[in-house]
């Protein structure tokens, strides 16, 4: 298993290297230049422009600029923001907690409500099942930004239950501030997870080992837990993992809508300002998070399904 993890971490490093190049190239090829954003439409003499370009190394060849940036990253120096002149690493560190809490909160909502609703729907059937099916269709169909606006107008403006914006300080206040954003963020993924869980549970219910267990006199609640839901978790784990990994990227929209100061909102601003160093750093973080979450899921999968072997180590 250790070999499997090490090999996967190696693959993740390779993925990061390739994506760093793609991200760098995409920013390079995108229209607009950083210096035109810096001067913000003012008429500036060509000499000043040239000095700015020289200062940031914007006239260097593409590959040299990429190499300069990459070697900085490898030594822990993520560069300096073009717009704020701050160190990117410390800028990121100050923004990460909000995003981390937001995505964790959303992940908990996905797991608890998505899996629970799906499992109960699959086991019970009837009206609850129909409600979950309908609800998941609606949840999946509503775009995140629209859900954000809807939740804000209902629970913050009309009912006044939750604060409208900001991230809050301290645990309780933070949770209160993050509830609506987390719900908005989790909604589509929870809908998908609920539906997949329901299907998996219904399918597992029809398995022969389930009817055999019942025919042996094993009580229904034990069969439901040990034979139906547990086995149904195999496909569900994969879906939950992919959806949680994607949350970090989806956080951008929600943070923007709720004016939270996370890295998602920061990413949107930086892209608009062509702030190379910040965009690249955030993009790398997103790729790394996606890779690590998937690795965790793969390891978890092998733990819950004894039939899974770690990548060809033994037959």
């Amino acid at each position: 298993m250790l070999r499997f993890v090490i090999r996967r971490l190696g693959a993740l490093a390779a993925t990061l290297l390739i994506s760093s190049f793609l991200i760098f190239a995409a920013m390079y090829a995108a229209p607009g230049t950083p210096e035109s954003f810096l001067v913000q439409g003012r008429t500036v003499s060509p000499e000043v422009l040239a000095s700015i370009r020289a200062q940031y190394g914007l006239d260097d060849p593409f590959l040299l600029r990429y190499w300069n940036w990459l070697s900085g990253v490898l030594t822990g120096d993520l560069g300096e923001s073009l717009t704020t002149r701050q160190d990117v690493a410390s800028l990121l560190l100050s923004r990460i907690p909000t995003t981390l809490w937001l995505t964790l909160y959303a992940a908990v909502i996905i797991v608890v409500f998505g899996v629970l609703a799906g499992a109960i729907a699959g086991l019970r059937g009837g009206a609850f099942d129909t409600a979950v099916l309908l609800g998941s269709s609606v949840g999946f169909a509503i775009p995140t930004f629209f859900a954000a606006v809807l939740l804000m107008s209902m629970f913050s403006v009309t009912l006044g239950w939750f604060p409208v914006f900001g991230a809050g300080a301290g645990f309780a206040d933070r949770m209160a501030h993050l509830t609506l954003p987390a719900v908005a963020l989790a909604l589509p993924a929870a809908a998908v997870v609920a539906r997949i869980t329901r299907t998996a549970v219904v399918e597992e219910r029809g398995a022969e080992h389930v009817s055999v267990a019942l025919a042996r006199g094993v009580p229904w609640r034990v069969v439901a837990r040990r034979h139906i839901v547990r086995n149904a978790m195999l496909p569900v784990t994969t879906i939950v993992g992919v959806n949680i990994a994607a949350l970090v990227a989806g956080a951008a929209v929600v943070e923007h809508a709720f004016t939270l100061d996370g890295i998602g909102a920061m990413l949107i601003n930086s892209v608009q300002q062509k702030d190379f160093a910040v965009v690249q750093a955030i993009a790398l973080v997103l790729v790394a998070v996606f890779g690590v979450v998937n690795l965790v899921i793969d390891v978890l999968y092998a733990v819950i399904d004894p039939r899974v072997q770690f990548g060809g180590e033994s037959a």
């Binding site: 398995a207 022969e208 080992h209 009817s211 055999v212 267990a213 019942l214 025919a215 042996r216 006199g217 094993v218 009580p219 034990v222 040990r226 034979h227 547990r230 086995n231 195999l234 819950i304 399904d305 004894p306 039939r307």
Partner: protein, 353 residues
């Protein structure tokens, strides 16, 4: 009192084109410790008969008639009482052991849950018993087997595990649904021997479903032959082999390939087996029966009990001698020719040149 008594059990399964009858009135009884074989072609209703006992028939199926277990009707039990019967009195062995075990649970968990969760025994006692049972069904390395997952064991090993689980509660009745069909031939006889040994040791009655008349004859006290959802003949293996009283039984016996004589062509029963819901009055077997008379198409035969055996045939008395002897259409000359092997060899040389 009989362990099991089925009284006019009918089973209808609703389908898009109306209800389909799968069982058309099955009646049988099983004394304590007795082994009864249920034999018939696919779709004759043998598995369905078995499933009505533990009420594991497909959802939506409508069952009428009485299924008496030690005199109490199983069909009328509430959920809790049914669960107690399943945990204590009747156990079932199914065809494919690989599908019967949860693939992500260890063998120990499978065995223990039948004693612990189903019967409320302590986990420690259940584990000790499980180990003991595995040793009794001939598993050499009990520790390794207990810790294994189903995919790590062979089909034969798994069926032993299932047998161990089935006898664990010392049930009064064992339902075996083709327990060796999914196994290879050498394992089949081993598993069958273990099953038979355990049954005798625990003094259990057994309802044994199989399509293998030979196998049923070897292990059963009596055999019931099913056709199209009803019993056409019940007799001891010796009676059946010496003198079948129903044409269908006769043809079943004939369609077994013989080891001593090399047949030019395996004899088959003409026509195709019909399903219970296709029967439209008269004898269900009439369409395929070489001895069918006009009245067989018209009158429905009843199961007539006579001298310890029962037959459902209008002509069983007049055909008695004929059924006990040669098959119609097969002259003795042909048969002797086949035993010498001459015609067969001719055909083979033709085929190779």
């Amino acid at each position: 009192m009989n362990v099991l008594e089925l009284d006019d059990v009918r089973l209808d399964l609703p389908s898009k084109r109306g209800d389909r009858a799968l069982l058309r009135g099955v009646s049988l009884s099983l004394a304590p410790g007795e082994a009864l074989g249920l034999v018939g072609e696919s779709g004759s209703g043998k598995s369905m008969t078995l499933r009505t006992v533990l009420r594991t028939e497909p959802p939506g199926a409508r069952v009428t008639g009485r299924v008496l277990l030690d005199g109490a009707d199983v069909r009328g039990l509430d959920a809790a009482a049914l669960r107690r019967v399943r945990a204590n009195d009747v156990t079932m062995i199914s065809q494919n052991p690989r599908a019967a075990l949860n693939p992500v649970l260890r063998v120990s968990q499978f065995l223990v849950e039948g004693l612990c969760d189903a019967r409320g025994e302590s986990r420690d006692a259940a584990t000790r018993r499980a180990r003991d049972l595995l040793a009794r069904v001939g598993i050499a390395d009990v520790d390794r087997c207990m810790g294994s997952y189903p995919h790590q064991l062979s089909g034969g090993m798994l069926q032993r595990v299932v047998i161990a689980a089935a006898v664990a509660s010392s049930p009064r009745l064992l339902l075996a649904d083709e327990p060796t069909t999914a196994l290879d031939v050498t394992t089949q006889s081993e598993v069958m021997a273990i099953l038979d040994g355990q049954r005798r040791e625990h003094g259990m009655a057994m309802l044994f479903v199989t399509h293998d008349l030979e196998l049923a004859s070897a292990v059963c006290d009596r055999i019931a032959v099913l056709y199209a959802g009803e019993i056409v003949e019940i007799a001891t293996p010796a009676q059946l082999h010496a003198a079948p009283r129903h044409p269908y039984t006769r043809l079943l016996l004939d369609s077994r390939p013989s080891i001593t004589a090399r047949a030019s062509e395996l004899p088959v029963i003409p026509g195709r087996p019909i399903a219970a819901y296709e029967v439209e009055g008269g004898c269900a077997f009439a369409a395929r029966c070489p001895w069918a008379a006009p009245r067989c198409e018209r009158d429905e035969p009843a199961l007539v009990h006579h001298a310890g055996r029962a037959t459902r045939c209008l002509r069983s008395d007049e055909l008695a001698d004929e059924l006990a002897g040669e098959t119609p259409g097969e002259t003795s000359g042909e048969t002797s020719g086949e035993t010498t092997g001459e015609p067969v060899r001719d055909r083979e040389t033709e085929a190779t040149t």
